[in-house]
């Protein structure tokens, strides 16, 4: 049996910041998140043995590759440390988490830092939209198309509509819930933005259609951000807990994980799932794998979920894929208040990607940090009451890479 992987905590930058306006390189972002994480966890730099960086496209946004090596720039004690960079579009952060946890499970290292980072505000929105198109099959699905991703996720909504029926008012409600949750998150990008269900439902000057059925209010926004968390072996976690006056039983651990990759092209995914009751069956399988590894029977064992809501349609998909409703009936959970704070299974207490922000390569790490905050009761104003076990779903591309973690004590 694999060795246990503990989550010791971490820190994130304020996702409302614009680091280009601050005249900063992305290494400044990594530095603030990682030094903040060290301070938050009382870990000394020399204790960190390995580092994994999640990043999608620094080559495009900052004309800089070899991003893993930038970890060494953060502190002189990191010089010589093994580092690597992981890329799987919006799931880059989760791939970095999987790599770090695999190293700990294998017994190679006892303490790993996972740092997600993306600086996206270096370019205008059209250019950024084109860069994001490289998360799809660029030549076939994105080249020459303005804002390809909203269009692809609009088609996910269309596919639901075709198979089961879909009302845009349910998507608007998902948006309003995420914005409302974000107001309680002091690091959320949109915490001071205005959103209401009426605004999300109506196309207007400030809420124009971006592609297909997707309006601005259905989208996560362009975000700069970095997040760092520490994963540890039982050996390090036990010693760390002791010196911080905690018991090892108080420290959250990764109970289970799932990781599946579907065909890149959206049409190929839809063709493959035509006979399936789930629109994205590989995402469903990643969820079931994580449940199985965690030894839980299903979603009823979870106190809440942080899911990938790059668009409202992806959260709509997550609802039935997690098993909160039968396939195609996500609207029932939306109407029944299941996904809201205080509901049976709150989704995105942080505000999710739509409310909290979506610095692409950092999102998976942010979700892991939020799971840690929830399980340790340190989520402040967005705390889910008595959170014991929670799951995260992080997706790369148009449902291509699906990564799921279940975290609990």
């Amino acid at each position: 049996m694999a060795k246990a992987v503990f989550v010791l905590g971490g820190a994130q930058t304020d996702f409302a910041r614009n680091w280009s306006k601050e005249g900063k390189h992305f290494v400044a972002m990594m530095r603030e998140a990682t030094l903040g994480a060290l301070a938050a966890t009382s870990i000394e730099p020399h204790e960190v043995e390995t580092a994994h960086v999640g990043n999608f496209a620094a080559e495009l946004y900052a004309k800089q590759g070899h991003v893993g090596a930038f970890f060494v720039e953060i502190d002189p004690a990191f010089s010589g440390m093994p580092t690597s960079r992981h890329e799987a579009a919006c799931a880059s952060g989760s791939i970095a988490l999987l790599a770090a946890s695999a190293e700990i499970e294998a017994g190679r290292y006892d303490l790993a830092c996972v740092c997600g980072v993306e600086q996206m505000k270096t370019v205008d929105s059209t250019t950024g939209g084109d860069y994001l198109g490289t998360a799809a099959w660029y030549e076939r699905e994105a080249k020459g198309i303005e804002f390809p991703f909203p269009k692809l996720f609009g088609r996910l909504g269309d596919e639901y509509d075709k198979r089961y029926g879909l009302k845009d008012e349910h998507l608007a409600h998902i948006s309003a819930v995420n914005y409302s949750n974000a107001k309680r998150n002091p690091n959320a990008q949109t915490r001071n933005w205005f959103m209401s269900e009426t605004r999300a439902q109506k196309e207007s000057k400030f809420n124009n259609v971006i592609g297909g059925r997707i309006k601005v209010s259905d989208c996560s926004q362009v975000t700069d951000g970095s997040v760092a968390v520490f994963l540890a072996s039982e050996k390090f976690a036990t010693e760390w807990a002791k010196r911080n006056g905690k018991s090892i039983s108080d420290i959250p651990r990764i109970l289970g994980w799932g990781h599946h990759t579907a065909p890149l092209e959206f049409d190929a995914k839809v063709a493959e799932s035509r006979e399936d009751e789930y629109v994205l069956p590989h995402t469903r399988e990643a969820i079931l794998d994580a449940f199985k590894r965690a030894g839980i029977s299903g979603v009823e064992a979870l106190s809440g979920i942080e899911t990938h809501d790059c668009f409202t349609t992806s959260e709509y998909m997550a609802i039935d894929h997690f098993g909160l409703t039968k396939p195609g009936e996500s609207w029932k959970a939306v109407e029944g208040g299941v996904i809201e704070m205080g509901g049976k299974c709150p989704i995105n207490p942080s505000g999710g990607l739509i409310g909290a922000g979506h610095p692409v390569g950092a999102t998976g790490v942010r979700q892991m940090l939020d799971l840690h905050r929830q399980i340790t009761g340190t989520a402040g104003d967005y705390q889910v009451e008595d959170a014991k076990q929670m799951a995260m779903l992080n997706i790369g591309g148009s449902g291509t890479t699906s990564c799921v973690f279940v975290v609990g004590k």
Binding site: G23, K24, L35, F194, S196
Partner: protein, 428 residues
């Protein structure tokens, strides 16, 4: 505070009034925006919608005029926010009406950026005085969350507590409570630095001073460009008020430079008068800067790079903020000394206001960070080192605040927060 959810804004067509409407309606209050006439009120709503980037915010907003809706809307409101021009007599006239119509448990707040709160309340009913205080928002209110709350002697403590809690919890503001002194804390400390830089520009030039005291010293925007954004008229009102009513160690720093007085008389108000400009004037793609010696705008000449400034910028760019501040502390030349005079002067003046207008160093930090987007004074002390800061202050003949002496003697940090809370203020 009354249970109902209704806010009235007086002067709702102004920048701050429309911005306040965005903040209150965004937090779920029902807002009545009052102005002189309906077309002004509509202009205000249009600005509020632009601030919120949402036409739908109108669903939480009513419009009205002072003649038609004042009495009824004030009678039904739990919070009345005055955002009229900075004219004491005008404000007092409106407060007389508010006193007449308001419900006894409603709160009345002035958005004044520095006039006397006690003077505004003078002569009003006991209930009004108990429920009256200052709530100073910074421009633009929907972006800048720093907020000063200013009670006067008669403000009921429970009212003060309730308003502070509402602003913090419901509106997400970063709030400090200040004493009722001219310009309160933020503008007192901030405009000292801005005006001192403007004074120094008379000798050293506009572009040079903005480069020397630029964002690398811990601010989102260079000082003289900031005055252009604020407006020379507003700048004058603030510095004149402090100069006339405060006797402190830096009083002379509040004297409006003669070249600015002349420019103002000639219609240079800054960004709001593009034809006349302010420190800077744009003509198509060409930028001009005022020559303080002649009062004329000449083509902007970019100052020659200064090594220590470029090094600071490059260190801030990669997040090495303490190294950048060490460069400022240790560089031995006249330019660095001039830069230190302003930056150390800011720390000295800011932290010396504790006990006079601010309650604590942390309050000065909060308002400079969240009201001005400037590096908090305590952060700068921590980055430079308390002992080094004291030595530099003594050399520059600046008064050394007690809090820095304490930090130097106990070896502790002054700023209570972490890197993630101040990093944004140190610009590359």
């Amino acid at each position: 505070m009354a249970d109902n959810n209704k806010v009235v804004i007086l002067g709702a067509n102004g920048t701050m009034g429309a911005g306040a409407a965005c903040v209150f309606a965004g937090a779920g209050f029902h807002v009545t925006m009052l102005a002189r006439d309906m077309s002004k009120a509509k202009e205000g709503l249009s600005d509020t919608q632009a601030d919120a980037r949402a036409e739908a915010i109108a669903e939480r907003i009513d419009l009205g005029t002072y003649d038609q809706q004042l009495e009824k809307s004030i009678a039904g409101a739990s919070f009345i926010f005055e955002s009229l021009a900075e004219d004491l007599a005008l404000k007092r006239r409106f407060f007389e009406l508010v006193d007449k119509y308001r419900s006894p448990d409603s709160v009345v707040a002035t958005g004044s950026s520095g006039l006397s709160i006690a003077e505004m309340a003078r002569g009003r009913s006991e209930s009004f005085r108990q429920h009256f205080l200052g709530v100073h928002l910074f421009n633009p209110p929907h972006v800048i969350v720093g907020t000063e709350v200013i009670p006067h002697d008669d403000t009921n403590r429970a009212v003060l507590k309730g308003v502070t809690a509402m602003l913090t919890k419901r509106l997400g503001r970063k709030v400090i409570v200040t004493r009722d002194r001219p310009a309160f804390v933020g503008n007192r400390v901030g405009f000292k630095v801005l005006n001192e830089t403007a004074q120094l520009a008379a000798e050293h030039g506009v572009a040079f001073m903005d480069y020397l005291i630029g964002p690398h010293t811990g601010r989102a925007m260079a000082p003289l460009a900031t005055i252009d954004l604020v407006g020379w008229d507003v700048h004058k009102a603030i510095v004149d008020n402090v100069y006339a009513n405060c006797e402190d160690e830096a009083r002379e720093c509040f004297k409006m430079p003669a070249y600015m007085e002349k420019g103002l008389a000639a219609g240079c108000l800054g960004d709001k008068t593009p034809a006349h400009g302010g420190f800077y004037r744009k003509d198509g793609n060409e930028v001009f800067a005022i020559d303080p010696k002649t009062g004329r705008h000449e083509p902007l000449k970019k100052p020659a790079p200064i090594e220590f400034v470029e090094r600071m910028k490059s260190l801030n760019r990669v997040g090495k903020y303490s190294e950048a501040m060490r460069v400022l502390a240790e560089t031995k030349d006249a330019d660095a000394e001039l830069c230190r005079r302003v930056v150390l002067g800011y720390i000295s003046y800011g932290l010396s206001r504790v006990g006079e207008v601010a309650e604590s160093p942390a309050d000065v930090d909060t308002i400079m960070s969240y009201g001005f987007n400037w590096a908090p004074p305590c952060v700068l002390v921590d980055l430079i080192g308390a002992k080094t800061t004291i030595n530099l202050m003594k050399r520059l003949k600046l008064s050394v605040p007690k809090s820095i002496e304490q930090a130097a003697s106990n070896g502790g940090k002054m700023f209570s927060g972490g890197l993630l809370e101040y990093g944004r203020t140190l610009v590359g």
